[in-house]
């Protein structure tokens, strides 16, 4: 099954455009621009060149031999951690900045939680000579000083957001307010497959390159499609990116791993699909973390990129239809996977991606009992340099460092 939004930007009941009236014509304009440029040959060539020569694509599909031997399946890692900037985020920001440039919008605004999307936006804006402002909750500014500094070095202005929970969702609110005010000259660059239509569609299209490359690479390496593809899910952009080109391959099981934080039953998590309910936030109808009145709850995960109380509508739709299986991993489980991958393969994964690694290990152990040569691809969506201080704090003396 391929999912395509209808005219209203809906995937089944999910998605749509629940935006203030001031933005509606801008969303229409954006949709038109995206539709025309994404079919334009020179636009595509320009983007392809940037992805290849600037971002470092294609990223490799690495056979994790040690991990595979340890757990009894054939595990491949799609190395999005090798993309310039250290995560898959740049695939999207290059695409959207190029689109903004073609639309004649010189000012880019973006929201960021951990700062990865902010950094990727600042990079794309710098290389394409656009002005860039990034909204970031004051709580995150404090937690992610390094990325704040990186953004500033890259020429972006970082606007701290002190309202609400002072984290990602509030940074999105504030970006929308900026966009409402400066809609005529400003391009709002959303970092995940969330928000009002056409953002979920657009971001997925710019991230699809992950799945396209993976398909070709795994066929070359193994002569067949993988049995299972696993990706972590916050908003869902790296998951949609790797899943999309496999949606019609029914034999490939697609698994999204949400942040269970301190455990789903603790109420402190970021698992909008596994434990959320339907509602409207940030311009989309999707699965959310909310109370019975509809007030949005604060999400929690030690992986800042998964710390969001909503999820992309297309993913909510694919999960409901059963095509994508959604599971979750706690902080604790994730931390152990983080250590395992670091030690066995010499790759320090982002805490976000380590959620997917955890589930891959579990899946490998289960399948090993069935004595099958189970083939797993994990989207290693980012590298973990940004997380080492946090991990050091959590692990403390327990850290097995000699």
């Amino acid at each position: 099954m391929l999912s395509k939004p209808d005219e209203q930007g809906k995937y089944g009941i999910y998605g749509g455009k629940f935006a203030p009236e001031v933005l509606m014509s801008a969303l229409e304009e954006l949709e038109e621009a995206f539709n025309s440029f994404s079919h334009d040959k020179s636009f595509k060539e320009e983007l392809e060149l940037l992805l290849r020569t600037y971002a470092g694509r294609p990223t490799s599909l690495y056979f994790a031999k040690n991990l595979s031997e340890a757990f009894g399946a054939r595990i491949y890692l799609k190395r999005e951690d090798l993309v310039h900037g250290g995560a898959h985020k740049l695939n999207n920001t290059l695409g959207q900045c190029l689109l903004a440039k073609h639309m004649g919008k010189r000012r880019i605004i973006a929201e960021t939680g951990a700062g990865q999307h902010g950094v990727a936006t600042a990079m794309a804006a710098a290389v394409l000579e656009l002005e860039c402002e990034v909204y970031m909750g004051t709580e995150d500014v404090e937690r992610q000083k390094l990325n704040v500094f990186r953004m500033k070095l890259l020429g972006a202005r970082v606007n701290p957001v002190d309202s609400g929970s002072k984290t990602l969702k509030d940074a999105i609110n504030e970006s929308m307010r900026d966009w409402v005010t400066n809609v005529e000259n400003t391009y709002y660059l959303i970092g995940s497959v969330v928000g009002p239509h056409p953002y979920p569609l657009m971001v997925r299209e710019f991230q699809r390159v992950i799945g396209k490359e993976t398909k070709e690479q795994i066929l070359n390496a193994e002569g067949r499609l993988p049995d299972t593809i696993i990706a972590c899910v916050g908003g869902g952009s790296n998951a949609m990116g790797i899943f999309y080109d496999f949606l019609e391959d029914d034999e490939v099981e697609l698994i999204g791993v949400e942040a269970a934080g301190k455990g789903l039953e603790s109420g402190e998590h970021g698992a909008s699909i596994c434990a959320g309910t339907k509602g409207v936030l940030h311009g989309m109808y999707s699965k959310l973390l909310q109370d019975r009145h509809g007030q949005i709850k604060q999400s929690y995960s030690f992986a800042p990129g998964l710390d969001y109380p909503g999820v992309g509508p297309e993913l909510a739709y694919l999960a409901e239809s059963g095509r994508v299986k959604m599971v979750s991993a706690t902080d604790e489980e994730t931390l152990s996977a983080f250590e395992i991958l670091s030690m066995s393969e010499g790759i320090i994964p982002a805490l976000e991606s380590a959620h997917a690694i955890h589930y891959a290990i579990e899946e490998a152990k289960r399948k090993a009992k069935e004595r099958r040569n189970h083939l797993i691809v994990v989207n290693l969506s980012g590298r973990g340099d940004k997380d080492i201080f946090l991990v050091e704090k959590v692990l403390g003396d327990k850290c097995n460092v000699h």
């Binding site: 629940f18 203030p20 509606m24 014509s25 409402v180 409207v280 009145h293 509809g294 007030q295």
Partner: protein, 268 residues
């Protein structure tokens, strides 16, 4: 009285409507009734009572802060309808975000509005394309679904909005969020003219009330020269905010400010 009748009545008296907004539950549910009474004594014609949402993307910092404070103090939809029902003396409309309507259930929400005497419902994150389910339910009750028209609204969209509109049209005066501003936007006159022309061509004479950034008597005067009403919100919230910090008689200030605004709607 339905909202459009209210506008008609005012017109007969050669007045325009003064619409006053406050966030319910700010600073507390008990205070809201007193504040509403002060507004009504000061002469507002329609009370726009905000039901706060955790993520109010169309609001500026003043109303955001009031919303957060109100939610912390325990405001919720059950309490909101209780408070709203107790306020008498002006027509009432509810402003809230779509998720709160959805979670209560569309029909339940509108029914509760009607029971509390709320004659209109404004949902700033519900554009006309997504409004059909709620619109259909409102039609069965004495509650109008009130739409917004922005300076960026294209003609085809405006036609769709006018077609669905009742009560009044909430004319967004500027590109931006709610909040008091020093100057009135220059584009209001051409913006209103554009809407009126469309109303004429469609034969849909829905009253026009202008909001966002209206915070002074002279703004109200200027707006009432071209439209059927003015909406003032953040300026009232600011008086409440200041009242919390000082010993001033906040209620008296609200009443006086409302009176100074209402004066400008007469004989226009």
């Amino acid at each position: 009285m339905r909202i459009e009748e209210k506008f008609k009545e005012l017109k007969e008296r050669k007045e325009k409507a003064l619409i006053g907004f406050v966030t319910a539950g700010y600073p507390s549910a008990e205070d809201t009734k007193e504040i509403a009474n002060a507004l009504i004594k000061g002469g507002i014609d329609i009370l726009e009572l905000g039901l706060p949402f955790s993520d109010p993307i169309a609001d500026g910092v003043t109303i955001q802060r009031a919303s957060e404070s109100s939610l912390r103090a325990g405001m919720n939809p059950d309490l909101y309808f209780e408070v709203a029902a107790r306020i008498k003396g002006a027509e009432k409309v509810c402003l809230t975000y779509y998720n709160l309507v959805l979670q209560r259930g569309l029909e339940e929400f509108v029914k509760d509005c009607e029971s509390a005497g709320i004659k209109g419902l404004i949902v700033p994150d519900l554009p006309v394309e997504e409004s059909k389910p709620l619109l259909k339910i409102c039609e069965g009750y004495e509650t109008d679904l009130i739409f917004l028209v922005a300076p960026t609204t294209t003609e085809p969209r405006m036609a769709k909005i006018l077609d669905a509109a009742s009560g009044f049209i909430y004319v967004v005066s500027l590109l931006g969020v709610t909040g008091a501003r020093e100057k009135l936007s220059d584009s209001i006159r051409p913006h209103i003219r554009r809407i009126k022309e469309m109303e004429l061509s469609m034969d849909r004479p829905v009253p026009l009330a202008v909001g966002f950034g209206i915070s002074k008597p002279e703004h109200v005067r200027a707006v009432c020269e071209v439209a059927d009403g003015a909406i003032v919100g953040s300026a009232f919230i600011k008086i409440i905010e200041e009242g919390l910090r000082s010993e001033d008689d906040m209620l008296r200030k609200i009443e006086e400010f409302a009176r100074s605004l209402k004066k400008e709607t007469k004989g226009a």
